[in-house]
């Protein structure tokens, strides 16, 4: 069976099947990928000459590919940009520590200045410590909220004009579907924007890879020999986004254009006049942008430091994590699960009262209100705000 020839150059053997079913050789695919990103950058005017751009670098495939593509395009088309790398260390052992090694490699390889900020330094909590007290159900909320602020602070410290993140088409499509499932109109109207320009520090963020498929980013990384850390976050399993990701993967098999179609549908929405949306104001504690008097990050931190790790998450107002213990059922006693006693059950769950809860061992838990002063992180960085 004769080998297929690249549909672009008609010379070399094809080895890459794209989402639109076209087949290209390695060189043409990499070139086409870079050109598509370049078209996105020029069409939406993401950068201006002379700007300083911080690339959010996690060490994963998206940011690694973004670093390489930005470097190549900056030189090829004379964007005139000064590139930096900005990394956030969430403190997830076995995951983030390894991925940061990749970021350091890229920093040396491309000759780009690297800044790393850690949750421990900023908030006095690492993600491992947070998950230990809050459980694994809402850990993505903590991580996402804290990382957003951390990126802004890092960008300020670097003195850059724009932050570029590696969010790809699949990420944007998943976000559209997530916001639809939750009926979150405010986020739905904003989540497809390629540039966000409403940060309090005045540093907008852009997504140059917005129209690139995640699978194509992986292919580009492989064919361009880009090093990246490929392990999934330790705390990712069970996240709500995982279900939507499964739907999107199944939908892409049925109809490959579905990712771009969802993005297109999301871009066509706007909120009707008269619909009540949260009003942007500033946090009374750290001055970060917030729709509430106290921003989410400060609320979550307060919860962590006062032994109420679920404060600001879900419906539990007190913010306490419910803990259960399993006790044996005495013979003849009903398990309480059904009307009829199911004698097969040997154990039942009972909620532990507050006075029975053992301490989690975290020295930061149960801090008094006066200690919260130490947590006004933004006050320390008086040069930031």
């Amino acid at each position: 069976m004769p080998r297929k020839i690249c549909e672009n150059c008609n010379e070399r053997a094809a080895c890459v099947l794209r989402y639109d079913r076209s087949i290209l050789c390695r060189e043409c695919f990499c070139r086409v990928f870079e050109e598509e990103v370049h078209q996105t950058i020029t069409k939406y005017e993401l950068f201006k000459p002379g700007q300083k751009v911080a690339i959010g670098a996690s060490g994963g495939k998206d940011s690694a590919v973004l670093m390489q593509v930005m470097k190549i395009l900056n030189e090829r088309y004379n964007y005139g940009l000064t590139l930096y790398l900005l990394s956030i260390d969430e403190g997830i052992s076995g995951y983030r520590d390894h991925s940061l090694e990749e970021v350091k490699f890229h920093s040396n390889n491309y000759g780009l200045e690297l800044k790393i900020l850690s949750y421990k330094d900023l908030y006095n909590w690492s993600m491992d410590e947070i998950v230990a007290v809050a459980g694994r159900k809402s850990n993505c909320t903590f991580c996402g909220v804290f990382r957003r602020q951390a990126l802004d602070r890092g960008a300020w410290q670097l003195g850059v004009d724009i932050v570029a993140t590696g969010h790809n088409g699949d990420d944007v499509a998943e976000t559209v579907l997530m916001n639809m499932l939750r009926g979150d109109v405010g986020r739905l109207s904003r989540c497809t924007a390629i540039t966000t320009a409403d940060d309090p520090s005045g540093i907008p963020r852009v997504k140059p890879l917005k129209y690139q498929y995640e699978a194509e980013i992986v292919k580009y990384a492989r064919h361009s020999k880009v090093r990246y850390f490929s392990t999934e976050c330790t705390y990712a399993p069970g996240a709500h986004r995982g279900h939507i990701r499964e739907y999107l993967r199944a939908a892409t098999k049925i109809r490959p254009h579905v990712v771009l179609d969802i993005i297109k549908a999301g871009e066509s929405f706007e909120v009707k006049d008269g619909v009540k949306l949260p009003i942007k104001s500033r946090c009374t504690r750290c001055d970060y942008i917030s729709s509430q008097p106290v921003c989410k990050a400060c609320l979550l931190l307060e919860g962590l430091n006062t032994g109420r790790p679920l404060l600001g998450i879900g419906k539990t107002k007190e913010g306490r994590v419910k803990k259960y213990k399993t006790i044996k059922i005495e013979s003849g006693e009903k398990c309480g699960k059904t009307d009829d006693c199911c004698s097969k059950e040997k154990e039942k769950k009972c909620e532990i009262n507050d006075d029975e809860i053992e301490t989690c061992g975290n020295p930061a838990a149960g801090l008094q209100a006066k200690d919260l002063e130490k947590l006004s992180i933004a006050a320390e960085a008086s040069d930031l705000f």
Partner: protein, 286 residues
């Protein structure tokens, strides 16, 4: 274990409605009918003596709507015959419309027993060809998803045309919240953001006719319970066939319905009503 009682009477509850409470069978039937009436009344769309054509498809929600409409028609007829002085002016006329290639006995029985004037029609091949050319279609990849979408589009075109021929002001559909949520998700997955209002809104205009979906806030659970409580055995629709394996699903529409159904059954964070209510808050960018 303590028996939960109906919120309205003291009988044991037979159904639990999220956010609305516990009901026995007869109180739930009354609640369901009043909810339908409230949706129609609050919309202030239908005026006195308007003709509303209800597209009956033989499904459970179709049988439920047929029963509700027939109950209100009898109510109006009784009020008229007794010359009761009703302040409420919303006495619209409803006719049922069933489109099929071959009408089965169950559907005929349902229509006849409802007491509502009905029309059964089978569109000819020429008619189908004619409308296939003018209805809204997607023809990008020629896959199963597009075929299913185009088929539904043609059905809607034929129903609207027949309803206009009957001089109707409204065409009523019996889609419930789960089916509308799945349709909304599939419409977004096809890139047709502009169709979200038409898919999930209470009322939209199509070819000069207003399409109503008063069951958009009723769940499948409520409809199934209502149908079991009110419809006779000969009218009850057949049970759904077994769930498809994901690998055998060929269209986005089926995948979206399965996805939402799986999320609900696993108790995950999803709310079909939230998806449907989005249509009230969104518009297309100009």
């Amino acid at each position: 274990m303590e028996v939960v009682k109906c919120w309205k009477c003291e009988l044991p509850s037979e159904i639990t409605i999220q956010a609305s409470g516990f009901f026995c069978s007869s109180c739930f039937v009354e609640y369901f009918r009043q909810k339908y009436r409230k949706i129609i009344g609050a919309s202030k769309l239908i005026r006195d003596r308007d003709l509303v054509v209800f597209a009956f498809d033989g499904s459970a929600s179709g049988c439920a709507m047929l029963n509700v409409i027939s109950t209100f028609q009898q109510h109006f007829a009784k009020a008229n015959s007794e010359n009761m002085n009703y302040k409420r002016k919303n006495r619209y006329i409803t006719k049922a419309l069933h489109m099929t290639d071959s009408c089965n006995e169950r559907v005929k029985t349902a229509l006849e027993s409802s007491g509502i004037e009905y029309v059964v029609f089978s569109p000819s091949e020429e008619m189908k060809e004619k409308y296939e050319k003018q209805c809204f279609k997607i023809e990008r990849f020629g896959d199963e998803t597009e075929n299913e979408f185009n088929k539904k589009s043609l059905q809607m075109e034929l129903l609207v045309d027949k309803a206009k021929e009957m001089n109707a002001q409204f065409l009523m559909l019996s889609s419930h919240v789960e089916s509308l949520a799945a349709k909304t998700l599939s419409v977004v997955s096809l890139g047709l953001g502009e169709e979200i209002q038409a898919t999930a809104g209470l009322c939209h205009t199509y070819n000069g006719l207003r399409i109503l979906k008063p069951f958009r806030e009723m769940t499948k659970k409520e409809i199934d319970f209502y149908v079991n409580a009110t419809c006779g055995e000969g009218i009850l629709p057949e049970e759904n066939k077994e769930e498809e394996d994901q690998s055998s699903i060929k269209s986005i529409q089926s995948l979206a319905a399965k996805f939402l159904s799986d999320l609900n059954s696993q108790g995950k964070d999803s709310n079909p009503s939230a998806i449907v209510r989005l249509s009230n808050k969104l518009k297309m960018k100009s």
